[in-house]
Symmetry: C2
Subunit: 201 residues, 2 copies
């Protein structure tokens, strides 16, 4: 039984949590629904408007959620510019991180984990555009050539889409390689990014 | 100016629309916000609960949305089992598809496009688990070895995560290769799926 908690806030980048959400919930479904994934909002109840305008309804607030095995913090403008400077959120992240088995971030969610503590003194990944800015904060080593970085129980990943790879790694670590492969097959995650070649449109 | 309309309904698979949503909205942002992406719900107003429990608020209903350049239909249980048999939705899809420049589906969204008409007599892709079921409906050729399939103005893709690749192809087709590359770079879409090798956990 694994409980995944995904933090959500105004201007969180949609795919930052949407990718891991799909991986975690598909993993839960393939395990017979034994696991749970919940969206936990910085403010609750009421809808949260994400960075690109998607409105989602959280399941819980900071003071009202089940104990978490995995905490995941997405990125986006709301992470770097707002929540990294919001002591209510960073205090909550610090407290939850202490008890969780795994703490993860996607993209600039790493800024929240740095402000809250779990990323201090650690090797981390973030969005390519913000690597220097994160490193300039000090007490952190930004790894520039890894899609995701595991340091102890901290799992950080590069920009936006990287959370899918990181989440898939995590469900494999938690529930085995064969399980992760089954999740991957169900999501048909066999990426084929277009325009890698320069060819006629 | 491109207006993307993403259909949404109960039990739509989250990443089926969440992946293309991120691609389309990031594309719009990089084009200075000239473009628009909207979620259009089968029922509106009120929240829509997706296949894995995520609750989203739609922007519009079937009778109240801007003219669409691109219509995208996600998959999930709600597509194959419910909306493909809902004449209100298939009628709406047929009418919108006639005027749109592009009609797209992800995963089992192809079943809705088949029921509504746009996929009849066409080459299409769908989730690997439902290829035979779709082909058995007749009047359709299921392409099993392509991540996404373009046939005229119809763009269909394989399961769940394949919508990201298809959407990225489409923004490149609409706005150029260099633009698609910029979107890809911003989403840091450089996939690195884990567990492709059999190695110690």
């Amino acid at each position: 039984m694994t409980t995944y908690g995904l933090l959500i806030f105004e201007d969180a980048e949609e795919l930052d949590f949407g990718g891991p959400w799909e991986v975690f919930t598909m993993s839960a479904a393939l395990r017979g629904g034994a696991d749970t994934a919940v969206l936990i909002a910085e403010h609750h109840p009421g809808p949260v408007r994400c960075a690109k305008g998607l409105r989602v309804l959280p399941d819980h607030g900071l003071d009202d959620h089940p104990p978490l095995d995995v905490l995941l913090v997405p990125g986006g403008r709301g992470a770097r510019k707002v929540q990294a400077h919001n002591p209510v959120v960073t205090g909550w992240v610090a407290a939850v991180a202490e008890r969780a088995s795994w703490v993860a971030s996607v993209c600039t969610g790493a800024f929240v984990l740095h402000a809250a503590g779990p990323a201090r003194g650690r090797r981390v990944a973030t969005h390519w555009q913000h690597e220097e800015e994160l490193e300039a904060l000090g007490e952190v080593t930004v790894v520039r050539d890894a899609r995701y970085v595991v340091d102890g129980k901290l799992l950080t990943s590069q920009g936006v889409s990287a959370g899918i790879d990181a989440a898939l790694w995590l469900v494999g670590r938690l529930h085995g390689r064969e399980h992760a492969r089954a999740v991957r097959r169900q999501l048909q995650y066999e990426p084929a990014p277009p325009y890698l070649a320069d060819e006629p449109l």
